[in-house]
């Protein structure tokens, strides 16, 4: 019988077959849709399907079907299988559309499939292999020396950071090595707001790139290491500007499967994880922030998948933006849970740069159509991809992170 679990070698995948087999093959996940009282929403949301067309690439159905085909021993591993698996950005749009019992397991299943792929002789994207080969010693996927991790921090600050603080600002690899201005702006913002925080020399990659690409074994020591930081620095919370770090610290470190990886790495307890926009929203609510200037621009907000769909934080960044004097917020057609990914996630930016930038280009066009002058987001990784696509497409749009918009025009009341 065709649906029997025959391939027992795929142990990780077999473990979740109870959930995988709940997919009815209905195809809801292939296209975005919602009924509305005056207008219905309908749009392609799957980045991968939009590019590679076939049902294998469209939404979770293609990958569930692949998982089953492998478990049923009806197809074998091939480079094409790897391509299907590694061109998904883990954006989670398909998960939003699914209403059956596989729903919470969809992203975990993608990662499990990738985990299994590493053990086969198939074409894992070279670039992913390259950063994976050094991340274990450099503690970042950018192949940069760990010693330079805090180079973004002006030296006067670097050596005056407190050894104990309420918050650890977890800058993350992208801001630390590639978007240094964003890390600097965050530190300046936190200082202006008189937040009791520190930045730590021994921050390692949060393990997001490892978990998203199914490298469970390699991820273990990263989770273990970072989990110990709060105690070491007397902190009760992590604060992140990176949505990927937020998702990983806040969910993978702290939640049971399928939302997190507590089943593999244990649970981080007693530590809060906040995104910068949470802190800003909270302080705005309490009346602790005073605006010293305005931002007179029409702005559209791009939901980072890791903050939005993965963690369901949609309104917080919007509330912060709406509080900025002069800022006019306009929405793209695809927003919130039906947002369209920037194209960078799930290892795709590293693995398939052209496709990743092509996706970002689509998002930039959508942002342009709103008439906005500036696109903002709440993630340095989205920033990188969108900013590159803006440049590549000679778009008139500007890109700034929410932190960069806010930092110059606030002070603590």
């Amino acid at each position: 019988m065709s649906h029997l679990l025959k391939n027992k070698n795929l142990k990780e995948l077999a473990k979740i077959y109870d959930w995988v087999s709940m997919c009815t093959h209905c195809g809801n996940c292939k296209y975005g849709y919602e009924y509305g009282p005056t207008a219905n929403f309908a749009a392609m949301l799957c980045v991968q399907g939009d590019k590679f067309n076939f049902d294998s690439y469209r939404g979770s159905r293609g990958k569930v079907s692949l998982a089953r085909s492998l478990l049923h021993n009806r197809i074998g591993w091939s480079d094409k299988v790897a391509h299907v698996l590694f061109t998904c950005t883990s954006c989670g749009a398909c998960q939003q559309m699914c209403e059956t019992d596989i729903k919470p397991w969809i992203l975990r299943m993608f990662e499990t499939l990738r985990y299994e792929a590493w053990k086969q002789n198939v074409a894992i994207p070279e670039n992913i292999k390259a950063w994976s080969s050094t991340i274990g010693t450099l503690y970042n996927p950018y192949k940069e020396p760990h010693e330079k991790r805090l180079d973004w921090l002006p030296s006067d600050l670097r050596y005056s950071m407190p050894s104990k603080a309420e918050y650890i600002y977890f800058a993350g690899c992208t801001a630390s090595y590639r978007r240094k201005q964003l890390a600097r702006a965050t530190v300046s913002l936190l200082q202006k707001l008189k937040v009791d925080f520190t930045v730590v020399e021994d921050e390692w990659c949060c393990a997001s790139p490892l978990l998203r690409t199914g490298q469970y074994d390699l991820a273990a020591k990263f989770v273990e290491h970072n989990k110990a930081l709060p105690e070491k620095y007397g902190a009760s919370a992590f604060i992140t500007t990176c949505s990927g770090c937020y998702r990983t610290l806040g969910r993978d470190y702290t939640m049971d499967a399928p939302e997190g990886y507590a089943d593999k790495y244990g649970k981080m307890t007693g530590v809060k994880v906040l995104h910068t926009t949470h802190l800003l929203e909270e302080m705005l609510k309490k009346g602790e922030i005073e605006f010293t200037g305005s931002f007179n621009k029409k702005v559209t907000y791009h939901d980072p998948c890791h903050l939005g769909r993965h963690a369901e934080v949609y309104e917080t960044p919007r509330n912060v933006l709406k509080a900025v004097p002069g800022l006019q917020l306009v929405e793209m057609y695809r927003n919130r849970k039906f947002s369209f990914c920037c194209g960078a996630g799930g290892g795709v930016r590293g693995g398939f740069a052209d496709y990743s930038l092509e996706t970002a280009g689509k998002r930039v066009k959508e942002a342009e159509a709103t008439g906005a002058e500036l696109v903002t987001s709440a993630c340095p990784f989205c920033y990188t991809n969108l900013a590159d696509a803006i440049e590549l497409n000679k778009s008139p749009l500007k890109m700034e992170d929410i932190v960069e918009i806010i930092e110059p025009i606030v002070r603590r009341k």
Binding site: T24, Y35, A42, N53, F54, S56, R74, K80, M97
Partner: protein
């Protein structure tokens, strides 16, 4: 791992471009199965044409090489109808997704096969009925089913799809108004008013050649454009509900209510189907629970119109009660009401009802049956289902005017358990066999139902069917094996 042959692959690549064809098993595997019990079968190629010319060229190649071609949009037909019985080319039509025209004055639209219910409903809602620039009301609708919104409107309509306006205006194949089709031998034909001008409003008064491509399950040609009638959205809606002690009681009520042609839809579901998720495996219903629950959707242009319809409905209920028909009041929860009026629906179309209790299998004996057969067949089906350990999760829906309606039994089963699959298939085939003498006919029939149909069909009917099929498709390349005659 690749399938097929490299020469054919190269030919297909020349026709549609390399990124729109694949013979890699990793790409082919989602097309090997659907929700039903259909045994997975691998196609050899998948192609995604973007134009009618590309379809013609693929079909000509297939004819020359005698390779099956399976038209495919979303594969949600609940009949294994896109599972390639003999391998061949899956022709995935999703890239042909243009809404070519919405005529808000003549009230029709022209769509390509890849237009989903999601996209079509959004476009129709954004178009207002009007005449010479004067707008009458807000938005259009079509007969929306309760399937995944990603499913194709065209594939639904040409296979006698069922939508939320069936009570008022008939099933969706009755709403088709013109079509363009690529014949299995590669020629293109227009059928209906579009054969004479660019007006796609009607098949009538011409000979009904659209019948050659309607209900044929993709075995006679590839429909590349379809004209469909669209309807102004009525701003006032309500859902009225009543329960009944038996199939007999609910049928009496439904037939009397339908007599007045006042509702958009009237449907009844058995106790087992009213449970979320559907009860699987079978367990008895509580003795004091009604056997059937019914809803009817009424719509109108004013509150007065709705009030009149409510009054008439109450009279029907009272008249039936006075005769001794056992009808009980019950209220639909607001969420359920929404599910009936806010279509197409991401939630209702999601198969959510099925998956909790089982391993992803869904099928049903979906049939068109004369209303008077409903209570008779319900009792027979119930016995068959319970014998196979399945819940008789049955639905009756009337189609426009009490002539006939849907009789189907929604069936979850566990695909991981061969015995469960076997039980579901056996029960459903037995139901079909039991229903045929009562006038019941399965729609979008899986091969197993088709065989049952053919076994009792009029010989002349089968002869004509085979003759038409041979005439149109001399090499039997179009979705072979599905009709059970070739």
């Amino acid at each position: 791992m690749a399938r097929g042959n490299n020469e054919i692959l190269a030919n297909l690549e020349q026709i549609v471009g390399p990124e729109y064809v694949s013979n890699e098993e990793a790409d082919l595997q989602p097309y090997t199965w659907d929700m039903t019990w259909a045994e997975p079968r691998m196609p050899d190629y998948v192609v995604m044409p973007k134009t009618v010319t590309e379809i013609q060229r693929v079909v000509r190649l297939a004819n020359h090489r005698k390779i099956p071609v399976i038209p495919y949009c979303n594969g949600t037909n609940i009949g294994g109808l896109c599972v390639p019985e003999e391998g061949g080319i899956i022709m995935d039509l999703k890239k042909m997704d243009r809404i070519l025209k919405i005529d808000p004055e003549t009230c029709y639209a022209v769509i390509e096969p890849g237009v989903s219910h999601a996209a079509f409903s959004a476009a129709l809602k954004a178009t207002n009925p009007q005449w010479k620039g004067e707008e009458f009301s807000k938005g259009f609708e079509f007969g929306w089913g309760v399937h995944p919104p990603s499913a194709s409107v065209l594939a639904m309509a040409i296979n006698h799809g069922i939508g939320h306006l069936n009570g008022r205006i008939g099933i969706n194949s009755q709403l088709m108004s013109s079509m363009e089709v690529v014949l299995p031998t590669g020629e293109v034909a227009k059928i209906g008013s579009c054969a004479y001008s660019d007006s796609w409003h009607s098949f009538l008064p011409l000979p009904r050649m659209d019948g050659l491509f309607t209900g044929w399950l993709g075995t006679t040609g590839i429909v590349t454009k379809l004209g469909v009638w669209i309807f102004p959205i009525r701003p006032y809606k309500d859902v009225l509900t009543i329960a009944a002690a038996s199939a007999e009681d609910i049928t009496k009520y439904m037939v009397r209510w339908r007599h007045y042609s006042l509702c958009d839809e009237v449907t009844a579901v058995s106790w087992w189907l009213a449970q979320i998720p559907i009860v699987f495996p079978y367990s008895p219903k509580p003795a004091d629970a009604p056997e059937f629950f019914s809803y009817t959707v009424i719509s109108g242009w004013s509150e007065e119109e709705l009030a009149y319809k409510r009054k008439m409905w109450k009279e029907v209920v009272e008249k039936e009660r006075a005769k001794g028909t056992k009808l009980y009041d019950f209220e639909y929860p607001p969420e359920a009401k929404k599910g009936r009026t806010e279509l197409p629906s991401r939630i209702v179309g999601s198969t959510k009802n099925y998956s909790k209790s089982c391993g992803g299998g869904i099928a049903w004996p979906g049939t068109f049956a004369p209303c008077k057969s409903w209570p008779i067949l319900y009792e027979k089906w119930k016995e068959i289902y319970i014998r196979h350990g399945l819940s008789p999760a049955t639905r009756f829906t009337d189609y426009q005017g009490a002539h006939y309606g849907m009789l189907r039994c929604m069936t979850p089963f566990n695909k991981r358990d061969p015995a469960s699959v076997q039980a579901a298939r056996d029960a459903m085939v037995e139901c079909v066999r039991a229903g045929l003498p009562e006038g019941m006919l399965p729609y979008k029939p899986p091969v197993e139902y088709q065989n049952e149909l053919n076994a009792v069909a009029d010989a002349g009917y089968l002869y004509l069917m085979a003759k038409i099929k041979d005439m149109l498709d001399p090499n039997n390349i179009m979705n072979p094996g599905k009709l059970g005659i070739r």
